[in-house]
């Protein structure tokens, strides 16, 4: 059902929009369902925003990690914390700029504080924030603030070995 809805939500009304990466509005439960569907893999959920410069600065590192480790069972999920009205105008072009060629998500129908608490009750709400799940779907760590390639790689490599 989630994936049937996914296609419908990605408005492609603007000229040229079809060449941009797909962005689907999801609530917190749908996002968690997506993480669950990816279990068996190591999953990194990265919360970012169009207004957050460090978020966009760390995107290339995450995309590179995905490219290198996809076949080893690494899955990357970008979730934008922005108004859904700016999906086509802002979110999709930013993702395209950073060579994100896979489906991404934008938070919808979930109050900010509910999302923050459900992702990790210790999370302050500071962006960017990455939430890493092991192959069983268990949350293992949270990385808050802009990170470099190696900082992500150090965490993921150990998890991908298992």
């Amino acid at each position: 059902m989630f994936f049937l809805l996914a296609g419908g939500f990605t408005a492609q009304g603007q000229p040229g929009a079809e060449s941009l990466p797909a962005v689907t509005p999801v609530d917190i439960d749908q996002l968690m369902e997506k993480v669950k569907q990816d279990s068996g893999n190591v999953v990194l959920v990265n919360a970012w925003a169009s207004w957050c410069k460090p978020c966009q600065e760390e995107m290339p590192a995450l995309v590179k990690l995905r490219k290198i480790n996809y076949n080893k069972g690494f899955r990357l999920i970008f979730i934008a914390i922005d108004d859904t009205e700016i999906i086509d105008r802002t979110i999709r072009p930013i993702l395209k700029k950073h060579a994100v060629s896979f489906p991404s998500y934008i938070l919808s129908r979930t109050p900010d504080n509910v999302f923050i608490e459900k992702m990790n009750s210790k999370w302050s709400g500071a962006l960017p924030a990455s939430f890493i799940y092991d192959r069983k779907g268990t949350p293992v760590t949270m990385l808050v603030g802009g990170k470099k390639y190696q900082q992500f790689a150090d965490v993921l490599q150990k998890l991908l070995q298992h």
Binding site: P54, S124, L127, V144, G145, V155
Partner: protein
Amino acid sequence: MKHILLLLFFSFSIAFSGDLKDLNIGDAVPSFALKNYDGKDYNIQKVMKENKFTVVMFISTQCPVSNAYNERMEKLYETFSKKSVAFIGINANKAEDTVAIAKHAKEHGFLFPVLKDFRNKVADQYAAQVTPEAFVVNAQGKLLYHGRIDDNRNPAKVTSSDLSDALTKLLEGKEITSSAPKAFGCSIKRIE
């Protein structure tokens, strides 16, 4: 053995992810003295004692979320400063210097001081993580409120004016029993 090592690694990772010791409602807040962007010294103990309540706001010159609150912070100051509520802005971002803070404060007509927290010592003591993030203390230095200013970066979409409501309650002599909900913001860029 391998599992134990992995467990140790993740225990370290979680701790390393920046868990500063949070202040709880009712805790005595740490004392500090910092300089305003104009060079004037501010001692938080003195400010607290001279006012019924003091609002400490961690803000930024560059963070778009913090900047979205510039007018709202100034409005809060206008409303509550005449009711013996002091407002203190703190900038703990490593890349934002006193010159930038002064320019920003003047551009936005801030009537409250914005103190430079070099090496983010005060941000660490308060376990402040985002901009904007607000703390309210009473004259005895007890923390009464910690959290967001309101529930939306877009002023047109605000449905819950948490900080304003908290100050109104406190001025009416009512108690605030829990922390305010969290909100998204920019991470405070600390000295590593």
